[in-house]
């Protein structure tokens, strides 16, 4: 038997039944351990069940929350007021653009926008609507519906008129439940007796003059012309009587109000005078 083999056998023998010389036996250790188990015996964790009433409460609370969030989204509105003498432009959530003319206010629901595109308008505004769901502009007297187009709404006092510049729009008379569909370059004016008069636009293929810093009048009563100037310049024009003369013409809004007034007064034999502050008096020439 060689030495290697011998060792192998011996070592097998050596280890059979061998153990580590432990100082403490397993039994001793268990009794130690058991004591600490005694100490650590835990009080059972109380199991709390959610009572049905709580479940209902939770359900009710979440419904209420949902309702609150929902109605916030539904009714939260942004109101833009554009004072006289100022014009502004507003981006709506879907990328549609509204240009708001002087002395106009507009309201819409930003968080409800993707469910219903709807704005409330008092005054005049020009809309460039992104294609999509129905877009509705509501004023006191009429409403206008479109899918995607550009159009101008003028809703002031007793006047409601809508001009369509591209695409097509439907204009509704809210009092008489009548409606008319406009093609590009058409303008609809609401009649006092209800219904619309549709005529073609003077400045075909162009956006409304005011969006390009112009005011345009075609056969407009002078009193309306003064009203528009009041709005654009934020001034007050006083006249001794209602002026019924009819005026056609354009002004650039870049010039001063005095300049415009003198241009206007000349053909009608009128004169104007600046009172204190922002008030102008317009009266017929004496001679």
């Amino acid at each position: 038997m060689n030495k290697k083999q011998e060792h192998k056998d011996l070592s097998k023998h050596l280890f059979s039944g061998a153990d580590v010389p432990w100082e403490k036996s397993k039994a001793e250790i268990w009794s130690e351990l058991e004591q600490s188990l005694e100490r650590k015996d835990r009080a059972p964790v109380p199991v709390r069940s959610i009572r049905p009433s709580r479940q209902w409460l939770a359900l009710a609370a979440s419904l209420l929350l949902l309702l609150a969030v929902g109605s916030f989204m539904r009714f939260y509105s942004v109101k833009t007021y554009c004072p006289a003498g100022v014009r502004t432009s507003l981006n709506l959530p879907d990328g549609s653009v509204v240009e708001i003319n002087a002395a106009s206010s507009m309201k819409y629901h930003p968080y409800w926008w993707f469910i219903s595109r709807r704005v409330a308008l008092d005054g005049e505004a020009f809309f460039t609507v992104k294609e999509g769901k129905k877009f509705k502009v509501v004023s006191d007297l009429g409403s206008t519906e479109v899918l995607g187009t550009t159009f101008n709404v003028f809703a002031r006092g007793e006047t409601y008129q809508v001009s369509c510049h591209s695409g097509s729009v439907r204009v509704n008379d809210l009092a008489y439940k009548q409606s008319v569909v406009l093609s590009p370059n058409e303008i609809a004016k609401l009649e006092e007796s209800g219904g619309f008069i549709v005529s073609s636009l003077n400045n075909q293929g162009k956006n409304p003059g005011w969006t390009e810093n112009l005011i345009m009048f075609s056969s407009a009563p002078l009193s309306l012309v003064f009203e528009e100037i009041e709005r654009q310049y934020g001034i007050v024009i006083e006249t001794p009587e209602v002026m019924q003369q009819v005026y056609s013409g354009n002004f650039s809004l870049d010039q001063s109000v005095e300049n415009i007034l003198s241009l206007l007064c000349l053909p009608f034999d009128l004169e104007y005078e600046r009172q204190n502050g922002n008030t102008y008096l317009v009266y017929p020439s004496v001679d």
Binding site: K4, L10, L14, F15, V20, E23
Partner: protein, 163 residues
């Protein structure tokens, strides 16, 4: 789920010696092995771990090994290698006694020179007569790895002892 005292006792009875020996193979320190083994089982109890006998032994070895590592990390000074790994042989006849005495001493000195991995596998195989498959499942390593460590251990021991 909570561990009942009976379940815990079963696990303790079945594995305490194995775990303690395993720790001893690693560190060669009898008192430390006992302490750490005790801690291992305390941990099972505190964490409410429900162990299935025969199936989850690997977890016990893992916990014991981790405890040993964190102990040595905390206590670096004491991490000197033991001089020898002592064991008591089974009963022998007087003639055998004479022959074996010297050999046993040689083994005890040679064992500490083995890398820890090889020592653990060698001693699990020899002292506890576990199969390679059993060792593999306890240490959660592959059987191939056990074989490799074992042959490494045998080669080294042979060299040491015949030197």
């Amino acid at each position: 789920m909570q561990v009942t005292r009976e379940q815990f006792k079963t696990i303790f009875d079945k594995y305490f010696d194995d775990i303690r020996r395993y720790l001893y193979y690693r560190c060669g320190d009898e008192a430390l092995s006992t302490d750490l083994a005790q801690d291992t089982f305390m941990r099972i109890w505190e964490k409410d771990l429900v162990l299935l006998p025969g199936k989850d032994a690997g977890l016990l070895y893992k916990i014991a090994g981790d405890l040993f590592v964190s102990h040595t990390r905390r206590d670096k000074l004491r991490q000197e290698a033991p001089e020898r790994i002592r064991f008591e042989s089974g009963s022998r006849t007087p003639e055998e006694e004479l022959e074996m005495q010297e050999l046993q001493e040689k083994y005890e000195k040679a064992l500490v020179k083995l890398p820890e991995n090889q020592r653990i596998v060698f001693l699990m195989s020899r002292m506890e007569e576990l199969t390679y498959a059993e060792i593999a499942s306890r240490l959660t390593i592959s059987v191939k790895a056990v074989e490799k460590r074992m042959s490494g251990a045998l080669a080294r021991l042979r060299k040491e002892i015949n030197a």
